[in-house]
Symmetry: C2
Subunit: 448 residues, 2 copies
């Protein structure tokens, strides 16, 4: 009997429908598995080819020598049930069925045959009609685009595009992902199975879930109740409007259900709900690396007055308290900061601030201000920002949330350093503050 562990940690994989033509999915998938650096055995299956991309090609699954953990399927739908049978007889543990042409276009019977074949042999199936998966700890990118950067975020998505976009953004930012899975028709493996898997995966620290409908509300709530405390889950669920619901029905035949009811469930379970795909990314990124602050008092430390104001406005709207500084802290800050700094909250270090001034300001305020967390905005080319944030995080008890913008090449270098060091950086004050708002609203333990 296969398990999800066999999918993600497969030691051997066959691509059935592998192709030599660069514009075919059966080519892209095989190439991405190879180029991703997968260390297990790779078997292209195609009766018409000798070799593809330099690998020996096999006419059938049966012809592959030795044992086989995972099959990635890209052949036309009608061949898939028999293929699963053949794989099952060979001892294959799991299959990822990329091919479409099942329930989504009315071929429910064919999908049932696939399901029955999988059940007969205990083969776990992801899909059909899905965009595959990527699991960076095993360097197994059986999807597209190719994303190699490892990170702490897992993405489970009913939309292959949303999954791919999230992985791309994480890769571009040098943050990376642990796993990315496109659900497809969910004939076997569901989002709940995957949430449970990633909740127990040591390589994953937060989970993004894009889901269009929930089949079993009770099971969903039960799972989220048990997982939520251990590992944060951020949910994007469209179908908030009437026409959105209709679109959901014609996309995945899901029933979006009442948005009010779902919102109530999220509130009750303290699940983080994203209102768009940008928030899905930002919130998951925040949860992947940040501790939940112990309270709602935020001290904004900035080199950019304008950005400090934008952060303040957003904070007020999210119920975050940009509390005035007490007199003692003001005095202490005045002693250690240059006269052109504006001592308040936001604490404006002004445009000539260097990284050392941030260190001085935060160390001083950390002792006396009573702030629950710091929101640091680097609004100029400030070299050394990454080192200072890293060392502050090691020395002060409060969490630090970082925003960097307007800093040109220096910004690019510093953000890269922070992301590689596991410190998330947000590109605008508003996006950063909203991400903290999500952290505060969740029930994740303070030190996750």
């Amino acid at each position: 009997m296969g398990t999800l562990h066999d999918v993600f940690n497969a030691r051997s994989v066959a691509v059935v429908g592998a192709s030599a033509s660069p514009d075919k999915t059966g080519h892209t998938i095989l190439r991405n598995i190879i180029d991703g650096g997968y260390a297990g055995s790779i078997y292209p299956v195609n009766p018409k080819a000798e070799t593809i991309l330099g690998l020996k090609c096999y006419p059938t699954l049966t012809a592959i020598p030795g044992s086989l953990d995972l099959v990635v399927v890209v052949v036309p739908a009608k061949f898939v049930p028999d293929l699963i049978d053949e794989g099952g007889r060979k001892g294959v543990k799991a299959a990822v069925v990329i091919s479409g042409g099942f329930g989504e276009i009315g071929n429910g019977d064919l999908e049932n045959q696939l399901k029955a074949a999988a059940a007969r042999h205990g083969v776990r199936v992801i899909g059909p009609n899905c965009q595959g998966f990527n699991y960076t700890p095993n360097k197994l990118c059986a999807t597209w685009p190719l994303v190699k950067s490892g990170g702490s975020i897992a993405v489970i998505s009913q939309s292959g595009t949303v999954a791919a976009a999230m992985a791309m953004w994480a890769a571009e930012e040098d943050l990376g992902v642990s796993g990315v899975v496109a659900l497809g028709n969910k004939c076997d493996v569901s989002e709940l199975d995957l949430v449970e898997y990633f909740a127990g995966d040591p390589n994953t620290r937060s989970i993004a879930l894009y889901i269009e409908g929930i089949r079993d509300g009770q099971a969903f709530m039960k799972l989220m109740r048990s997982v939520g405390g251990r590992k944060p889950v951020v949910i994007l669920k469209p179908g908030r409007t009437e026409k959105g619901k209709k679109a959901v029905a014609s996309h995945t035949h899901s029933i979006a259900g009442s948005d009010e009811v779902f919102q109530g469930v999220c509130r009750q379970l303290r699940l983080a709900r994203a209102s768009d795909v940008t928030e899905l990314y930002d919130f998951t990124k925040a949860f992947g690396s940040l501790r939940r602050p112990g309270g709602r008092k935020m001290l904004v430390v900035t080199s950019s007055g304008g950005s400090g104001i934008l952060a303040t406005d957003t904070a007020e709207q999210c119920g975050i308290d940009v509390a005035a500084l007490d007199d003692r802290t003001k005095e202490e800050l005045k002693k250690v900061l240059p006269g052109n700094c504006v001592i308040g909250n936001p604490l404006d270090l002004t445009g000539d601030a260097d990284a050392a001034r941030y260190r001085t300001a935060v160390e001083t305020a950390a002792r006396t201000s009573g702030a629950d967390f710091f929101f640091l905005i680097f609004g100029d080319p400030i070299p050394g920002a990454a080192e200072v944030v890293q060392s502050l995080r090691a020395t002060i008890p409060q969490e630090i949330i970082v925003c960097y913008l307007g800093g040109g090449e220096t910004e690019a270098i510093e953000v890269r350093k922070m992301h590689r060091g596991g410190i998330p950086v947000f590109p605008t004050p508003e996006r950063g503050v909203k991400a903290v708002g999500a952290l505060l609203a969740s029930h994740t333990s303070e030190r996750s």
Copy 2:
């Protein structure tokens, strides 16, 4: 008497306070003017240096041979009024004062002296206490970071960081900017002067305005009424919350005023108001290249079902009509599209769609569907998307708004092509739809 034309189109520029130390602002500015490719004469002024960055250095403004249009000032505040006098005597037409240390830290007298000197000689002054400006048609980047890509967007900002961030994003996206100006203390040149200038600038098609307070409400309304119809202005004005207002007061001593009143003014003048810096960028980008659709009926054409739903939800929330397809259009589309496409609105071309399928779908629907505009989502690696969009824009009467996500390297190539061709592409369905919402809410003429 100098004018803003002399600032932006200066044929010669002096940098007073030019420095050989790479970490000084007087170095960065000079280097950016040189590296930006400025073709006019460049004069570093510094009595202690012979040459800086390979250019002959002058001890004073007076020592510079021949005429001088513009002075960029980076020396300490106390020297600035005399410097403006010296420049005025030399016939300098304008000055950009980067130096801080005036009204913003209580030195109102010094700022008045600067103002008086400028008035005596008819020298126009941007600043003081500002981050300078960039005008790409003149390749004159007297600010940081260095941005060379020319585009159709002008940014006027009371925050140097917001200006810099906008310019960076535009450069990263290969969209570019026409001009970027940081206002600083506005001792002379105000946001209204600049809006008027860019409204008449043939290189600028839309204007982003970040402003913390409005000094003269009547003048603002009068100008916006006259400019608004000619050239779109997008405004980000923080201070929406009580603490935001306080932060505004301590940053630029502006009075944010009642947000309700300002909102009413925007509604009355049909000005596009951004709610955050991301929207400021997206809306200005949309206005810089797109025509306002003739009505609110949107047809979504997508390769990604999930993205189509996200677009639909957002559209409903923005009052955009994702209208059902009529029977005739459905029949026409069924004739020309493969059987796996989901014929509706969203029109789901599914994950195997190539660029040609988009062309077929849009050409067909453009004839019969009654859609006022098309929202195209490329949710996969779809090569040739740029060519198809470009040619559709030339052949159908309806405007096309493009979103591209999840497309890996192909996406990067196609987005670059579209941006270079003047077609804005949005990175998420929600951001794209909100940008159209802003277009529809404005009073810009349909063919700007």
